[in-house]
Symmetry: C2
């Protein structure tokens, strides 16, 4: 992708983000005039903190890829941003996270009670939107994804102190947490567009693959990112004892002595906090980062394969954005 | 209602409760075999602790009142029990309640994180059921009710230390918290039955009125109940500084000196805990309990009025149960 195209992509993304924000504001205005003022304030605070709106964008582009130009898709698309918001509100209560996107999280700013309730509100509202704009089939899919997200969280809780997790466990957890939702964002765009089954399934594959790769890279950036760019400190996952792909690969590849050292380090919370650079070196020794990046790259190729099956003269512009997004997910530094 | 009828009512209710439980178990079995074992355990623990299944029962009876005998209504009806469960899981996190129905609450037994997640799961699943069995119109109504519940909670939070609440504030809060949901349980039964608009609206009125009266009596029992029968201690609302109808009426009727004493007592948490019997005497002095009971009785008459408009030869049995339920709500002691 040359520089001019990259500028086009950024321009188009910025325009879409603004439009998504506007549709969200209109939609919330229609319901919040009858709402408790604090709830309205939380929604404003929690939903407009500079999110990238990737999920709704995918729904819109998926519909466009299938030849649908109806603007009603925006009202379906924002359901994914609301569900994402509901998840973040609840996640921050669950993780007792005080910061989100560089400022106090909803639970820090308004309290855990308000965060739970506002999440429930968004959850209900997002499902009503999906029912209205994607019918019962869309709702069934959306609800299935929400249930998988919860199920993924339970799996993660259960695996919390299991330092011998397999790659399969990891992919199962991130499928519930990230990939299925992103797959559903694409699939519902296709459903909205009344696409052919083959188109719907290709968009689902694209979305799920994008989601997997996104999470793998996210987990890589937790070790290798530039804190200035990501806005997060490094080593959070290690500190929490969370097993991500680089570490899982390293545990599998390490010789007996190194593995013993790793397990001992992981089992001790204080050690985990202090030994980030040693653990990072150990992962480098066994090329755990390279393996994870290769895996993400393979998965992105799968996404691009699926996408290329949908390419037509008439959807060139949407194709290029989705193509660009796949590359961005792999190469992003924040 | 004579004794024979009362026995019939109890018998029929017991049968319906068993059937509702069975449908819930079948429904959960169909989804829980793919679930994380802890989530499945929480659902079993939290949903089968001896609830009365009033909400699903209302949906079923409402459909029957409109001449519908389709057993699919059970699958719609259990959505209300799931939503109710989701609400209780989250409420117990919010109130930090350790006990529910005489044993550890879900959040006490499994932790707040698990309670939030399991509530989210049930919430998503309940909405999918409503979409499947009552279509998009049903879902829109169901979602509206959920949003009102959250909104009612925010109103209650905001009114928490407002000892000069009006009757209107009280009814607004309990409409969100209880009445609209019970109204929706009835209305969705009518919707499922493809009832006439007049029938649907009469069942909604019946349900909302039943819900209001239920909550008023619940609040009365918090002062006047027999702890042995209710399974709860007395004076919880007073202790939390929660203004319910008897106290609101008393504040309105009290002379200057009594009102001053009441406000002083309410403003001090320790006083609230210690002065239950004096506050109870004060409410009795101004007939606050009598006023609340009269209000509940007026509302139940409204419910019975609406119900009588639906009475036909063919729905005699369902009519009698709904009639009996209205009387039970008013006269119950637990």
């Amino acid at each position: 992708m040359d520089v001019r195209n990259d500028m086009d992509l950024k321009q188009r993304l910025a325009e879409e983000t603004l439009k998504i924000d506007r549709i969200m504001r209109d939609d919330l205005a229609a319901i919040t005039d009858t709402l408790d003022p604090q709830l309205a304030e939380i929604l404003e605070y929690g939903l407009f903190a500079g999110g990238k709106r990737v999920r709704p964008l995918l729904t819109i582009l998926a519909a466009r890829m299938c030849g649908n130009e109806d603007n009603g898709v925006y009202n379906l698309a924002i359901a994914f941003e609301y569900l994402h918001g509901a998840t973040l509100f609840h996640d921050d209560v669950i993780d007792r996270a005080d910061t989100r996107r560089g400022r106090p999280s909803v639970q820090k700013q308004f309290g855990a009670v308000a965060a739970i309730l506002a999440g429930d509100f968004l959850h209900a509202h997002s499902m009503a939107l999906v029912g209205e704009f994607a019918g019962v089939d869309g709702l069934s899919l959306f609800s299935q994804v929400t249930r998988s997200m919860v199920d993924g969280e339970f799996l993660q809780l259960r695996n919390a102190s299991n330092f011998n997790q397999s790659e399969e466990d990891y992919f199962l957890a991130i499928s519930g947490k990230t990939a299925l939702l992103i797959g559903a964002a694409c699939e519902l765009g296709a459903l909205f567009a009344r696409a052919q089954p083959g188109q719907q399934s290709a968009l689902k594959t694209y979305g799920i693959s994008l989601g997997y790769a996104f999470q793998i890279i996210d987990d890589l950036l937790d070790y290798q990112g530039d804190a200035q760019l990501t806005g997060k400190g490094l080593g959070n996952d290690l500190c929490e004892g969370k097993m991500t792909l680089p570490l899982i690969t390293t545990m599998q590849r390490a010789d007996a002595a190194d593995k013993q050292w790793l397990v001992k380090t992981l089992e001790n919370q204080l050690q985990r906090q202090q030994k980030l650079s040693q653990v990072t070196s150990m992962i480098e020794k066994y090329d755990g980062f390279g393996a994870a990046r290769n895996k993400a790259s393979d998965i992105i190729n799968k996404a691009l394969d699926a996408l290329s099956r949908l390419k037509q003269q008439s959807n060139q512009q949407s194709f290029e954005i989705l193509h660009g997004l796949a590359h961005y997910v792999l190469n992003r530094s924040n």
